[in-house]
């Protein structure tokens, strides 16, 4: 944030309505919430295509975590500390509360927002597999109204979500998992805090008399976007959950995902770890 920043234009809307009016004016605004990603880009000297829309004054409208009536609803400006602190969330969606607690460290969790993590769409974004596993939907507001996009179709390509320039991501919602469902979240990185993941796996499993009734498996850092392991899910659904099935599922998962070698890890390591995480998630109780 050095030489360039003095020329940056910043808009500071006071309401969501003002924000979507700005976004609809035809310019390429960059919405900025906690600035934990935008700040890093600017510090690294990256130029921005247009003005910045700082959303901090929208907190009264968009900073909340609500767990009620079988629905989880989280405002885009809720921070990861807000998630980790929410008693209702820890009780009903522990995998999301745990994921929130592993993101960055305290100072990042105090600033980084749910909406920012989604809109930035990093393949390593730790909250994203959890939302996928929960079957969540985002809400995008524009002058034209509200559009709801399920996570399954949200990630269009590397670091891009299905959001028009005139839309503001305002909330995420998901059905609360039934109390008997098994929830799983695990992030594997170089160290627990501050590390960007080598592999993340989130899972939601419901069984009925030893058989898999429904299962959702989502992974981060193994593809250009966060992904569901649909072939593995199909193999598991309806089958008897035993050690042989767990082995077969791990093999199916390793055949289904195509991770790459990069600065953080290797494809071989990621494949191996992804299968192990799945086995840990499915291990017969």
């Amino acid at each position: 944030m050095r030489g360039l920043l003095s020329h940056l234009e910043v808009g500071v809307p006071a309401t969501v309505e003002e924000a979507v009016t700005c976004l609809g004016d035809g310019r390429t605004w960059l919405p900025m919430a906690g600035a934990t990603d935008v700040g890093v880009w600017l510090n690294a000297g990256r130029d921005l295509a247009g003005p910045v829309l700082s959303l901090h004054r929208l907190r009264p409208e968009l900073r909340y975590v609500s767990v009620e009536n079988d629905r989880l609803r989280v405002g885009a400006l809720a921070t990861f500390r807000d998630l980790a602190r929410s008693e209702g969330l820890r009780a009903r969606v522990p995998m999301l509360a745990e994921a929130a607690r592993t993101i960055g460290a305290a100072a990042i969790q105090n600033r980084a927002t749910v909406g920012g993590n989604i809109a930035n769409a990093s393949p390593a974004g730790d909250s994203l597999p959890v939302w996928l596993a929960l079957g969540a939907t985002v809400e995008l507001r524009s002058a034209a109204g509200v559009r709801r996009v399920p996570f399954d179709t949200l990630f269009v390509e590397y670091r891009r979500i299905d959001r028009r320039p005139d839309e503001l991501l305002t909330a995420v919602q998901a059905p609360l998992p039934p109390g008997r469902a098994r929830q799983y979240f695990r992030k594997v990185g170089t160290r627990r805090a501050q590390a960007i993941s080598k592999v993340v796996l989130a899972g939601l499993l419901e069984t009925d008399r030893g058989r898999v009734r429904s299962v959702r498996i989502a992974l981060g850092s193994v593809a250009p976007v966060p992904v569901r392991a649909r072939r593995t899910e199909a193999l598991l659904t309806g089958a008897k959950l035993d050690a042989a099935l767990v082995r077969e599922a791990a093999n199916t998962l390793r055949a289904e995902i195509r991770p790459i070698d990069d600065v953080r890890s290797t494809a071989a390591y990621r494949l191996s770890v992804a299968g192990n995480l799945l086995a840990e998630f499915l291990a017969p109780a």
């Binding site: 944030m1 920043l5 940056l8 690294a44 500390r81 305290a106 100072a107 105090n110």
Partner: protein, 203 residues
């Protein structure tokens, strides 16, 4: 933009670009140079300050988002010119070597000890995980913080009738620490640290 903020209880108004980093506002415009820049990307915690009571990396806070805010920096930790008990504990435990991480460590430790933003079961180790010490003095730093943690915890519990054995107050000068370490059989790791520190100082 005209930025007004309250830092360590004092009001300031400065004219700065809206995306200027809070870190640079503090250091350049307010001349509060206690807050350090380490990595400039939110990884190391050297620039930690409190923004409206929450621990943040000031290198990632644009000025526009600090307008009207209450900021606490390392300069605000001392009390009437005297070091706070936490700062004295850092001295006592030799919890600084090069010192670049210390302002951030102290602010993060203060935030943790105050307990407002703490998560259930959160330890000092977890709360300080975003503060990196390049000299690897973590054991001494965590000792210094956890010593300050105990009195607060004791105060929260209902008072116990059991009398505490009285110990003479320990002096916290460097000489007293060295004398104590000489008396105690130090662990291998500790004594290695102590030697390397001494040899660096003498160079």
């Amino acid at each position: 933009m005209n930025l007004s903020l309250r830092v360590n209880g004092r009001e300031y108004a400065v004219d700065v670009p809206p995306m200027k980093r809070l870190l640079d506002v503090l250091r350049e415009d307010l001349r509060l140079t206690g807050t350090k820049e380490g990595c400039g990307e939110g990884e190391c915690g050297a620039c930690s300050v409190l923004l409206d009571g929450e621990l943040v990396n000031s290198c990632l806070v644009p000025a526009v988002q600090a307008d009207g805010a209450e900021i606490s920096t390392v300069e605000g930790l001392s009390e009437k010119g005297a070091l706070s008990p936490l700062q004295r504990s850092f001295l006592k435990h030799n919890a600084a070597q090069c010192g670049v991480c210390s302002p951030g460590m102290l602010v993060a430790a203060r935030w943790f000890l105050d307990g407002e933003g703490r998560l259930p079961g959160e330890s000092a180790r977890e709360a300080l995980a975003g503060n990196i010490c390049r000299c690897t003095g973590y054991a001494a730093i965590l000792d210094a913080v956890s010593e300050q943690e105990k009195p607060a915890r004791r105060a929260r519990r209902p008072a116990k009738p059991k009398p505490m054995p009285k110990k003479p107050a320990r002096r916290s000068t460097r000489r007293a620490v060295a004398a104590r370490q000489a008396r105690k059989p130090a662990t291998a790791r500790r004594s290695v640290n102590a030697t390397s520190r001494k040899s660096r100082r003498s160079r």
